[in-house]
Each structure stands twice: as C-alpha cells, then as structure tokens.
C-alpha cells in the first residue's frame, strides 16, 4: 500500500516552501518602506516571543521579567559601542553573555518557586533592574543617563557597525534571527533536554524522584532564553537607535511577549510566531485606523481581540491551525500527534 498521505503530504511541503519563499523575497515584493517596517516589527516580536518561549513555554514557569534581559542586551551593546567604539556585531554577543549570567543567577533561586510566585518574582527582579537603571546617571564613569535613555549614534550606512539606511538589511537580519531561534527551539524540543523538560513541566517533583536534575535543565533553558532575548534587545537598539529603561525594561514589554506567546501557543515552535503575527498587526491596524480619532478605542479593540483569543483559543492559535493542517494533509489517521511535539506525522499502515 502506498503512503496514504502521499499527494497531501507533498501539499504541506509546498505550502511551507511558498510561505518561506514569500518571506525570503519579501522586500522585493513589498517595496513600501512602511509595510517593511511593520514586518520588521512583527518579526522582532516573533523572535522575542520565541526566545521567551524557550523558558516560559517549555518549563511551565511563566516569566514576566524578560524585558529586563532585552534591556540588558540593548544597553550593553550600546554602551560598548558608544564608549569603546566596539562594533555592535560583537557587542551583541557580549550583551547576550551578560544577560545569560543575570538570567541564570536570578533563575537559580526563582525556580524554587512555583506558578504565580515565580511570575511575580520575575516581575520584581525586572522592576528592580529597571528602577536602578532609571536612577543611575553614571556608573564607574560610564554614562548611563538613567531615565533619559541612550541614543545610538547615527552613522548612516555602515554594515560593519550594524547600521543601515534602508530597512531591507534589518529585515533579513531579523528573519535570520527568527529562523535561528526556531531552529534552536526545534532542536531542543527533540533533544534529551526537551524530553526532560517535558517531564519537569508535567510534574517537577515526580521528575526529580526519577533522578532528573531539574535545576540543571531549567537553568539551561533559562540561559538559552536569556542569551537570545538579549540579542533581540541589541537588534532593537540598532534598529530604533534609542533605548530607555521605561520602554525596554518595562513591565509592558514583558507582558507583550507573554501575551503573544500564550495566545499563539506556548511550548511549540510555531506558536509564538503565530501569536506575534496575530497580535502585532492587530494592534498596528487598530491604531492606524482608530488611534487618532476616539481616544483609546484602538486599545479597547486590541483588548477585545486578546480576550476573545484567550477565551476561544485556550491552547493558543496553534491548536486550530494544527487541526486544519492535519485535516488537509491526512484524514486524521492513527494517533493524533501530542501537543508539544513539532507536528510529527503519524501514519498508519
């Protein structure tokens, strides 16, 4: 008997390839700078949410302090650039390392807490960092400028210094970063670490009873997530060329990541990306249509979208999409793939 999903299986690959090509050739199809800007924004949030998802989706612990890591990345790479002239390409990695250290150091005690307590503690740590930066004008002679924020000096077109006059290079960079974080997530999911994390997420005490060193795996997830989040923060700094504690380390930003991740579907590779693709444009569109007219109406709409998404898509947007894909590429034969795996195909003989 031939593979029952033969032709339909191919259809799925075609669809994925089309989407992939579309994004690859995006800037050539979409010439409008504004739409390109919107896409960069969407991809940025997709990236950040995916990085957040590595710890919050897979460990079962909700982090609401990730903006602090984003801010650390942005500040470190920018300070190195302003004070030492170090190219942000390297500064970005230093920022990532700094955030990893901070993330692990904070994560170690935090992971002893569960559920809402963990979330509240991450908020507290992020706020402490934000308030400290806001109130510090200089440290060890380095100007931090506190609440006024840092401006990345305008250098025009200088690829070596991670600055471009056109949006197109930024677009490709963020797409590449997104693909990278998705690949990392996918690899992690399939690896032993992913397997252990699943066990820990389901029942931490039980997993430990079986001999799994939960601390090690939780902290590894935290380290990866922190590093990647910080890279995104540096990207933000280079793209908008301005960072300040309120926006880049604030609670608002952390909540945005969490919202997109949960609405899209945590603990999956595609979920956060879908969440960003739903919520970011929703906010953007409602604001451009309504933002100037009735004060606050666009945020009411955004809140409504959020509430509806949470009420009717409890496992995230990924759930109905998975079902749709399954239905299109196969007649639900065999056992449906378990949530949390990368959509492995189940074929019955």
């Amino acid at each position: 008997m031939t593979a029952p999903n033969g032709p339909r299986y191919g259809l799925r690959y075609v669809a994925v390839t089309v989407v992939f090509l579309f994004f690859l050739l995006g800037p050539f199809i979409i010439r409008d700078e504004y739409y390109l800007h919107v896409l960069v924004g969407i991809f940025f949030f997709a990236y950040m949410t995916s990085a957040w998802n590595i710890v919050s989706g897979y460990t079962g612990q909700l982090s609401l302090g990730h903006s602090a890591l984003c801010g650390i990345g942005g500040y470190v790479s920018t300070l190195l650039f302003i004070n030492l002239g170090l190219t942000p390409w390297i500064g970005i990695l230093v920022g990532g390392l700094a955030a990893t250290v901070v993330g692990v150091v904070i994560g170690y005690p935090c992971f002893r807490l569960r559920g809402p307590y963990f979330a509240l503690t991450t908020i507290a740590f992020a706020e402490i960092l934000r308030i400290w930066v806001e109130n510090t004008d200089e440290i060890f002679g380095i100007e931090l400028r506190g609440a006024q924020g840092l401006l990345v000096p305008l250098k025009g077109q200088s690829p070596w210094l991670f600055q471009f006059t056109s949006k197109v290079p930024y677009y490709y960079i963020i797409v590449a970063m997104l693909l990278m974080v998705m690949a990392v997530t996918f690899w992690m999911e399939k690896s032993r670490m992913g397997f252990y994390l699943k066990a820990i997420r389901a029942d931490q005490d039980g997993a430990e009873a079986l001999g799994i060193n939960s601390t090690r795996y939780l902290l590894s997830a935290m380290a990866m997530s922190s590093f990647l989040t910080a890279l995104g923060g540096s990207f933000y700094a280079q793209y908008f060329r301005y960072i300040n504690p309120e926006r880049n380390m604030g609670l608002d930003l952390s909540i945005e990541f969490a919202l997109m991740g949960i609405v899209g579907g945590q603990g999956t590779v595609l979920g956060p990306v879908l969440g960003a693709f739903l919520l970011n444009p929703a906010g953007e569109i409602s604001r451009s249509l309504l933002g100037g007219k009735l004060m606050g109406l666009h945020l009411v709409i955004y809140g409504l979208v959020l509430v509806l998404a949470v009420m009717f898509l409890p496992k995230g947007l990924i759930q109905p999409i998975r079902q749709f894909v399954r239905r299109v590429s196969g007649r639900d034969q065999g056992v449906a793939p378990a949530a949390g795996t990368g959509g492995a195909q189940a074929t019955a003989g």
């Binding site: 924004g41 308030i131 806001e134 109130n135 305008l154 608002d252």
Partner: protein, 416 residues
C-alpha cells in the same frame, strides 16, 4: 458575482490615484499634516489639549479659504497616537510619511518619543515641527529637518533662575538656599540636572535634592526632610497627579517656603489641576510654562480662540492647547512662503521663518525663527505667580501686564 472583480479593480485604481503624491505647481485640494501625540496612556491629557488647539487653528485657516498660494488647499490634520512609547511613535511616523503623503510632521510632546520620531523624519527628509518637547538633544544633533519653536530644557531652568534673581533685585531680598523636588523619569531628572548646574553658577546652595517615583501617593517623607533642611525656595517638576497630591500636602503640613514654590510646569500648566486642589494650596505659586497664561486679557484676539477651546474641552486655554494652535499657524506661514508641497522647499521655508506677528504668537513669544540647528533661540516661557486666584505673568518683563505687583517674599502660613 462577476461584477465584483471589476468593481474591486475600479476601487484599486481610484485609490491609487488618490494616493499619489502631489508635486509643485499642481492644484491640490488638501495638504496632509501628520500629528503624532500621546492620545492614550499617561500623557493623554496634554495630547488631547494639543490636538484641540491644532484643530481649532486648522478650522480657522480652512474657513478663511485654506492656503492661498496653493490654490486654497485645505489643511488636513492626521492625528495618530504614540501611546507614549517611542517605538510606536516611530511606527506612526513611518506610516504617516509613507502611506499618507504628509508634507509636514508635528508633535509629539514627550521628549523620548520626539527624539526618535524626528530621526525617522530626518531620514525621510520630511520637516518636523516640534510641539512641547524640551529635551536639549532634539535640536543638538545637527538635523536639518527638525524645527523647535519652544524652549529647550535649559531655557526653562534658566528662566526660573532669572525670575528669582529678578524678584530679588526688585525687592532687595531673596533666597540663599534652594530645594529641588522632581518626578523620577526623563523630564524631571534632566531638569534637576540643569538646575543643579545653574544653582552652582549663580551661588545658591542646594539643601534638598530629590526625585520621587511617579504615582507617589504621599509626600510626607520629602516634606519632612524639607522641614529639617529648610530650603528657602523649592523648584519642582511634577506631572498633574503628583502635583495634586503634593500641593494638597504642602498646604496641610503648612510647609514654609519663604521665597516660594517654583513649578516648572507639567501639572501646574493643566487647567484641571486648579480645579482639583484647594485655592489656598496654589496661592503665590510660581509657574514657568511655555505659554503666557493671561494672554487672553492682554490680547483681545486670543479670546475667541479660548472661547472655542472652552467649548470643546470645558476649560480655559492651556499651554498645550496654545502649542497646537501656534504650530498649525506656523505651518500656514511656512506653506505660504514655500509655495509648494515639495519637501525641500518647505524645509527652506522653515529655515527662513521669521514670524513677528499673528496668531502663531499666541504663546506669548515675540518672534519665531530657527537657528541652524532648528532651535528658536528667542523662544521663552513665562513665569507667572498665582495672585488672588489668577495666574499673572511676571516675567519676562515685556510680558508683565501694567500695574502688577508680585508678592515677594510670600507670607508665612500663619500670616495668611
């Protein structure tokens, strides 16, 4: 069913045509002006007032027949919400420039937002007229397309000191010690920084110097410290909510500030602030703001403007409303001289601006012109004192109404 593609196609064509950019010499029906303001979030208050002032000005201009040199083209203000976030402001700027073909951008009140959005505008070679933002850096970057008619932060602080020195000269006595109490984010802390430098230069001793977290419900800790250290005058930078709480407590605790409470605006520029606090708590308070608060009493032509403002918002014309109004009239002047929608010509017209009369001077300035960095170096705010329930302009002397006598030093609480 087959009609639909045809109709759609027609719509697309129509939209395409209507969206096409207009160049010099063509008859235009409308000039698009992009306005980025905080219309939600914590600064929504000020954003709404600026929007109202701008709208009133645009209505006046359009009623008189639009921009004559452009064939009577009407001004169309496109408002958008920055949500008090720099990156959102940047997105909105992109959208307005790319999709809505604006000739000029204006806004955005919050310095952090304006810093970022003016850069976007600079990249697209679109002139940006700043409203309300005072951060020095905005006109210190060598930008060619940013124009700021209002004060830089440094001017604000300098004017406060000029007033104190001026009053000291007038009355023969003045403070030796100062206190600084500011809100703990961008605006407050940068103001404190400038005040510190000026205080040192002018020989005042700063005995109290603090920032507080925005949203503070209680100033008793700070007031207590001031009781001990006894600053003779207090300089504050507070937004409306904190200003309300502070002034109430200032009165309740009967804190003595012999040479006055000097507010550099923020909450004290907002009309509802005065409705929310007992009159005694703001008596004799000095306010530095961009706007000449009693201009409606000295310049009769401003009265209809205030009337309209009151109709729309329910309270008197504020500094932010006047900023919006002034900005749009400045744009009128610029477009008249540019004679086209070509952004380079508009930029040239901005750079050569020299307004010495007319509605754009509703702020109380004597002139609007821009130096090579886009700053109006002759911008100034006004310092007013709250006398008999009315805020009366004291400085600059050119703006002080005749027969006004300041109260200096201010009476102790027990003597009132």
């Amino acid at each position: 069913m087959k009609r639909i593609p045809f109709i759609l196609g027609l719509c697309v064509i129509v939209l395409e045509l209507s969206g096409s950019p207009v160049l010099a010499g063509e008859k235009v029906a409308e000039v698009n002006i992009g306005v980025v303001l905080s219309l939600s979030g914590v600064a929504a208050d000020q954003g709404l007032q600026t929007k109202t002032g701008a709208t009133i000005a645009a209505e006046e201009i359009n009623a008189k027949g639009g921009i004559p040199v452009l064939g009577g083209a009407k001004l169309r203000l496109l408002f958008s919400d920055s949500q008090s976030k720099p990156d959102v402001g940047a997105s909105e700027t992109e959208r307005l420039i790319q999709r809505e073909n604006v000739a000029i951008m204006m806004g955005a009140y919050q310095s952090a937002t304006t810093t970022v959005t003016t850069e976007v505008a600079e990249r697209y070679k679109t002139p940006w007229l700043v409203t309300g933002s005072v951060a020095n850096i905005i006109t210190e970057r060598g930008f060619k397309y940013t124009f700021r008619p209002n004060n830089k932060a440094t001017y604000d602080a300098r004017e406060q000191f000029d007033a104190i020195k001026g009053l000291t000269q007038e009355f023969g006595k003045g403070p030796k010690t100062l206190g600084i109490l500011v809100e703990g984010s961008d605006w407050g802390k940068s103001h404190a920084g400038i005040v510190r430098i000026l205080a040192k230069q002018m020989g005042y001793e700063v005995v109290f110097d603090e920032a507080y977290s925005p949203g503070t419900a209680d100033f008793s800790a700070q007031i207590l410290k001031m009781r001990t250290r006894k600053p003779e005058a207090l300089i504050t930078a507070m937004y409306t909510p904190d200003h309300i709480v502070f002034n109430k407590q200032y009165q309740e605790t009967k804190l003595e500030l012999p040479y006055g409470l000097h507010s550099v605006g923020g909450g004290s520029e907002v009309p509802e602030f005065y409705k929310a606090v007992p009159p005694e708590s703001v008596r004799f308070m000095f306010v530095q703001e961009d706007f000449q608060i009693d201009i409606t009493k000295v310049a009769a032509w401003t009265q209809p403007v205030e009337q309209k403002f009151r109709e729309m918002l329910g309270y008197d014309l504020s500094a932010y409303g006047a900023q919006g109004y002034s900005a749009v009239w400045t744009i009128y002047d610029v477009l008249q001289r540019a004679g086209s929608l070509d952004k380079e010509k508009i930029r040239e017209a901005f750079a050569t601006t020299n307004i010495t009369s007319g509605p754009a001077l509703i702020m109380g300035w004597q002139v609007i012109h821009f130096d090579k960095d886009g700053q109006n170096v002759d911008a100034h705010g006004c310092i007013s004192q709250n006398l008999n329930g009315k805020r009366t302009t004291l400085f600059p002397l050119a703006n002080r109404p005749k027969g006004v006598l300041p109260v200096w030093p201010i009476p102790a609480w027990k003597d009132r």
